[in-house]
């Protein structure tokens, strides 16, 4: 079951804090369970995708995380309801670790390139479109830059992934100048992708 497709809305009752959600779930409030998923699902999925590098596995583990959390909250309240996020994170992390261990034990070596090809094909079209729009935004951003040195700063930071102090030393920059260029680039990038319809909030 995809939690986001369940159709239930928790808009009638607003849960403003993790404590409210945790307490309400323990009281048997189904709307609170939906609120839990709506509030945390995207970030849990993001974190698990980052760790597993496998979108399908990340989705499975995310659902398992929420299942375990809801069952736990129904039967026993959290000692610290305010630390609901930490509890979720811990469950997700443990499931991820257990899955990695299981995968290592049953690892086989058959046509790994076919597995990678399948993974590419399973890539979300929407995400691909997002990336294309973002790439165009970067191109526009670089074009707008007034001088070659600013372009070099961004190249060193985002492409070569050098540290700030190394870049400042190489290009004889002050920290302030570096921060200004990067901050302006971030702000402008955000403007460009939002105007291109890429929604990150």
């Amino acid at each position: 079951m995809n939690p986001l497709a369940c159709g239930l809305k928790s808009l009638q009752i607003q849960y403003h804090s993790p404590e409210e959600i945790a307490s309400a779930i323990h009281r048997g409030d189904k709307a609170a369970e939906t609120a839990l998923i709506e509030r945390y699902y995207r970030v849990v999925l993001y974190v698990l995708k980052k760790r597993t590098q496998d979108p399908d596995l990340a989705r499975d583990l995310s659902q398992e995380t929420f299942r375990i959390t809801i069952e736990r909250l129904r039967t026993e309240p959290l000692a610290e309801p305010g630390k609901l996020a930490a509890f979720l994170h811990s469950i997700a992390g443990n499931l991820c670790t257990a899955e990695v261990r299981k995968a290592t034990r049953r690892q086989t070596y058959t046509g790994s390139e076919h597995v990678e090809l399948y993974a590419d094909q399973a890539d979300d079209q929407f995400s691909r479109l997002e990336r294309e729009r973002a790439a165009l935004s970067v191109r526009a951003l670089l074009k707008e830059l007034g001088n070659e040195r600013d372009r070099k700063i961004l190249q060193r930071y985002y492409i070569d992934e050098l540290e700030k102090r190394d870049i400042c030393e190489e290009l004889a920059l002050s920290d302030r100048h570096f921060d200004k260029v990067i901050s302006r680039a971030r702000t402008r990038f955000r403007e460009l992708i939002e105007s291109a319809g890429v929604n990150t909030s």
């Binding site: 974190v47 994170h89 990067i182 990150t200």
Partner: protein, 213 residues
């Protein structure tokens, strides 16, 4: 431990670039769960990073002659490369060895470079010169007038003390002006006789008295 105040953008970049410790990552992700704006910032930062790399790859693909693998590294990064570090250490050792060798070679062996003398003494400048030549102890260059000869004559100079217990002999050749030269040993003390003989002859051509004090 992360700063629990407002998280700066560079911390978001550090998270996206996997530059945080495991504990810092956990702390950051827990905060992200309860902060939608932070999560949005992370997604933007990730998208920005990916887009820059994609742009660089597209540019590199469009310029096939460009050497993608070559870039200048700042010195601090360059020196951290294992081969650069090894090369610098070897160079340093080489410089030290050369400096050490050069010091050893510049020793106090003065005989290969020159020899100092206390004085130059001309003996027998006039045929009627008599008397004793007094010299301080040390090395002296003695010039003896043996007369001009039409042939390249060789001479034997003998320097003997009065008791004949010490004799120094020198085989020399006269120059175009009829002069022969010799260096006296440095440790001479007392009276000595300098006799000049032609090589192969027992006849004494001239004899001079010297006193070293």
């Amino acid at each position: 431990m992360l700063d629990h105040g407002k998280l700066p953008d560079d911390l978001v970049d550090k998270y996206v670039r996997h530059q945080l410790t495991a504990d810092e990552i956990a702390e950051f992700e827990i905060r992200m769960l309860d902060d939608p704006q932070l999560f949005a910032a992370v997604q933007r930062a990730e998208l920005m990073q990916q887009s820059f790399k994609a742009q660089a790859q597209a540019q590199a693909a469009a310029e096939p002659s460009h050497d993608h693998n070559f870039r200048y590294l700042p010195f601090r990064q360059w020196i951290r490369q294992p081969m650069s570090l090894a090369a610098s250490v070897m160079l340093g050792i080489g410089v030290l060895l050369l400096a050490n060798l050069s010091t050893q070679q510049s020793g106090t062996d003065g005989l290969q470079r020159g020899y100092g003398v206390n004085s130059v003494v001309s003996i027998g400048q006039t045929r009627s010169a008599t008397g004793e030549t007094v010299l301080p102890s040390g090395t002296h260059l003695l010039q003896v007038d043996v007369g001009i000869s039409l042939s390249d004559a060789s001479y034997m100079l003998s320097l003997s003390n009065d008791e004949n217990t010490q004799t120094h002999q020198f085989q020399v050749t006269a120059d175009g002006n009829g002069m022969v030269r010799m260096l006296t040993p440095a440790n001479l003390q007392g009276r000595y006789q300098l006799q000049v003989q032609q090589q192969g002859s027992t006849d004494v051509l001239a004899s001079y008295s010297l006193r070293f004090e």
